[in-house]
Symmetry: C2
Subunit: 369 residues, 2 copies
C-alpha cells in the first residue's frame, strides 16, 4: 500500500443490539487489525447528544472543560474531549446548549444562541486541536448556528451597520453578514458532524418546522423564524462563499448543522479513501433514505466509495443497493439465529470490517501495482 | 478501472449443497454483474472427471469431437468443448484415457499412455483454441503425462538414441528427453487444471503409490514405476527448463498433472489480479490443507490475492485465515438457517461474489487513482 488509508466510519445504530457509537468503535477495531496506522475518522450517525462524549472518551483521551456562554448567555462550564494526543476535540453541543439545561431553557428560544459552542471550539483551538467531532443532538437553540459563527469571528449587522446579536430575536433586523474576520484557524480545521438528522435548514422539513416546537417555538412563530433563518443563511453563504442550506443535516441542532457544514462541509470525507457505513437491517426502506443511503450519497458526491455492513440484507433490495454501495456485507459468519447475531453484533461487526478491509487492502495493492 | 480484471475462480464443492462446477459458475455469474467484460478463469477444484465437460457446456459453447488414441493405443472419438467463441477448449482426460473405457483398460497399465490427450490438444489448437481447461479425474494411465508431451512434440530416447514410446513399460530404457520440437503454440497457450488432487508426482504421496492400485499397478511394481516417473520427470524438467515434480497436483491423473504443470505451471494465475475460492464450511481443518488453503497458497506464490467465500466461517479459525486470505466472507446475507443456506447456496454465492467484486472494484479504482 502506497500510504496509510483514510477511512470514514459512519454507521447508524444496529437497532436492538448496538449503538452507532459502539458500531463505529467495532468497525474501527476490525480495521485496525488490517492497518494499525490507518487514519480512522469515526462519525457515528447517532443523535450526537448526551452520552456521545462519554462513549468516545471510553476509548481513551482526556476530558477537559472550558467556561463558555450557555444558550441563554449565562456562563457554563462545558466538558469536551481531547483525543488523538490533543489533535482532535470532541464536542457535544448539548453540553453547552442542552435542552436539559434549566438556566438555558429559562430564556425564550428566540433569545438563545449557540455562541458557547463557538467559544468552546476556540478554546479547543487554543490548546492545539485542529480536528473536531461535534455531536448535535439535544440542543435547545434554533439560531441556525449564527451564535457559533459569531463566536468564531462572523459579524452580523442591521441596515444601519450596527452589530447585532446572533439570536432569532435580534436577527429580525439582519441586513449584512461579514466573514472577513472569521478565525483563520478554521481554514485548516476539519469538522466531523455526529448526527442522525438529515433535514435541511429551512422549509417544511427544516429545523424550525420539524424541531422548533420541542424547543419552545410557538406554532404561529414558525413561519417568521424560518424566514429569518433563510435570510441569515443566504447572507452567511454569500459572505463565506459556500452553500449548505439545503444539505441534508443542515437542520440538525436548530441549524447548527448548517453552520458547521458551511465552515467544514462533509470534512470527514475530505481526502478519504473509503467509507464504511452500517445498520441493523437493510431492505427497501434503506433505499428510501435511511442513514446508510444518505451517507453513501455523500460519499459518492465526494468520490469516496461506501461499503455497507448490515445485520441482514434483503435479497430483493440487493440489486438496487449494489448500484450505490461498494459491497454490501452481512454480519453473519454463517447460518445463525437472529438472537446470536444480535448478542454478538460488536464482535461480528469488527470481524466483518476486518475482512472487508483485507479485501480492500489487497485490491488497492493490486490497483496501485 | 484501468483495464478489465483477470479473476481466477477456484472453489471446492460446497459439500451438501453445490458442486465445485456449480460454485464456480455462481461466482462467475456474480462477478459478471460487476464487470461484464472481466476475464473469468474458471478452475473448479472438482475431480475434473466425467461430468465436468457437460457441466461447463451447460453454460454455453459447443461440443466437438476428434479421433485420437485411447489409453491403450486404439483410436477413440473423444468429445471436447469449445467455449469463448472457440478460444478455449474444455478437455476431460477421462474422455480419452478414462478408467471406464474397456478398450483402454484391457491393455496393461504399464502399456497405457496419455498420447491421446496431447492429440486432442493439438486438434483443438488446429481449430483456434489457445486456452485449455483440462479435467484430470478418472484416468486409467500412470505415464507421468509423457504420452501427452510426446504427442505435443517431446521425444524420448534410450541410451542408444533410439526413440521410445511414452509408456511406463518403454521408459524403463529412458535415457534422454528432447524438447526442441515441442509444439510452438504451447508458448502462447494457457492451461487451467481442474482437479481435486494435490499429491506430488512421486514418492509415498505420489501418483503411483496412492492411485496406482486402482489403475491396476501391482503392489510389487510401485517402487519401480515410481522410479521411472522420477527419472522421466527429471529429464523432462531439464529439457523444458521448468520444475513441477513436487508441485501439489503433479500427481493427478497418473502424472498428467505434472506434464501440464510443466508446460503451463499454474497458468490460470499468470497475470491474474484476483483469486476467489470457496467451500461449504471453513474451520481449523481448512488450515490443515483443505482446497481453499492450497489454492490460496498457490495464489500467494503467484502474488495473486485470494478471497474466500464459504458457507460458514468458524470464528476461532478466523484470525489464522485472515493471515492467508484477502477477506473471508460467508454465504449468509443475515440470520438464516443452515437449511436455507444450503437450499439457496448458488444464489447466495453469486450475490456474495458480486458484493466482494464491487468492493474490489472500488478499492482498485482508489488504488490506481
Amino acid at each position: 500500500m502506497a500510504r496509510r488509508p483514510i477511512i470514514v466510519i459512519a454507521p447508524d445504530s444496529f437497532k436492538g443490539s448496538i449503538s452507532a457509537n459502539a458500531a463505529a468503535m467495532a468497525i474501527a477495531q476490525g480495521l485496525a487489525r488490517v492497518w494499525p496506522d490507518a487514519e480512522l475518522r469515526l462519525c457515528p450517525m447517532a443523535d450526537g447528544g448526551e452520552g456521545t462524549l462519554d462513549a468516545i472518551l471510553s476509548r481513551g483521551g482526556q476530558r477537559r472543560s472550558a467556561r463558555v456562554s450557555g444558550a441563554g448567555g449565562m456562563p457554563i462550564d462545558a466538558a469536551y474531549g481531547s483525543i488523538d494526543a490533543g489533535a482532535t476535540a470532541v464536542i457535544e453541543a448539548a453540553q453547552v446548549v442542552g435542552l436539559t439545561d434549566p438556566a438555558g431553557t429559562a430564556i425564550d428560544v428566540e433569545r438563545r444562541s449557540t455562541k458557547g459552542v463557538g467559544e468552546l471550539i476556540r478554546a479547543a483551538f487554543d490548546v492545539g486541536a485542529r480536528r473536531f467531532m461535534i455531536g448535535l443532538g439535544g440542543s435547545s437553540t434554533n439560531d441556525g448556528g449564527a451564535g457559533m459563527l459569531v463566536a468564531l469571528g462572523l459579524s452580523l449587522a442591521d441596515a444601519a451597520g450596527r452589530i447585532i446579536d446572533p439570536t432569532p430575536e435580534a436577527t429580525a433586523a439582519l441586513a449584512a453578514v461579514d466573514a472577513t474576520r472569521l478565525d483563520t484557524r478554521l481554514a485548516r480545521a476539519r469538522f466531523t458532524i455526529m448526527s442522525d438528522v438529515s433535514n435541511p435548514l429551512t422549509g417544511s422539513d427544516g429545523a424550525t418546522a420539524v424541531f422548533g416546537s420541542q424547543k419552545g417555538v410557538r406554532a404561529e412563530r414558525i413561519g417568521e423564524l424560518d424566514a429569518r433563518l433563510a435570510r441569515f443563511a443566504a447572507l452567511a453563504e454569500k459572505a463565506i462563499g459556500r452553500a449548505a442550506e439545503d444539505k441534508p443535516g443542515a437542520g440538525a441542532a436548530g441549524g447548527l448543522g448548517f453552520a458547521l457544514l458551511l465552515i467544514g462541509l462533509d470534512a470527514a470525507l475530505d481526502g478519504a479513501d473509503w467509507l464504511i457505513t452500517g445498520e441493523g437491517r437493510t431492505d427497501k426502506q434503506t433505499l428510501l433514505g435511511k442513514t446508510p443511503w444518505v451517507v453513501a450519497r455523500r460519499g459518492a458526491q465526494a468520490q469516496v466509495p461506501a461499503t455497507l455492513i448490515s445485520g441482514g440484507i434483503d435479497r430483493v433490495a440487493l440489486p438496487a443497493l449494489a448500484e450505490r454501495f461498494a459491497g454490501c456485507f452481512s454480519l453473519a459468519d454463517g447460518p445463525m439465529t437472529l438472537e446470536d447475531c444480535v448478542a454478538n453484533a460488536a464482535r461480528l461487526l469488527a470481524d466483518r470490517a476486518e475482512q472487508a478491509g483485507r479485501l480492500y487492502a489487497a485490491a488497492r495493492g493490486a490497483g496501485a501495482a
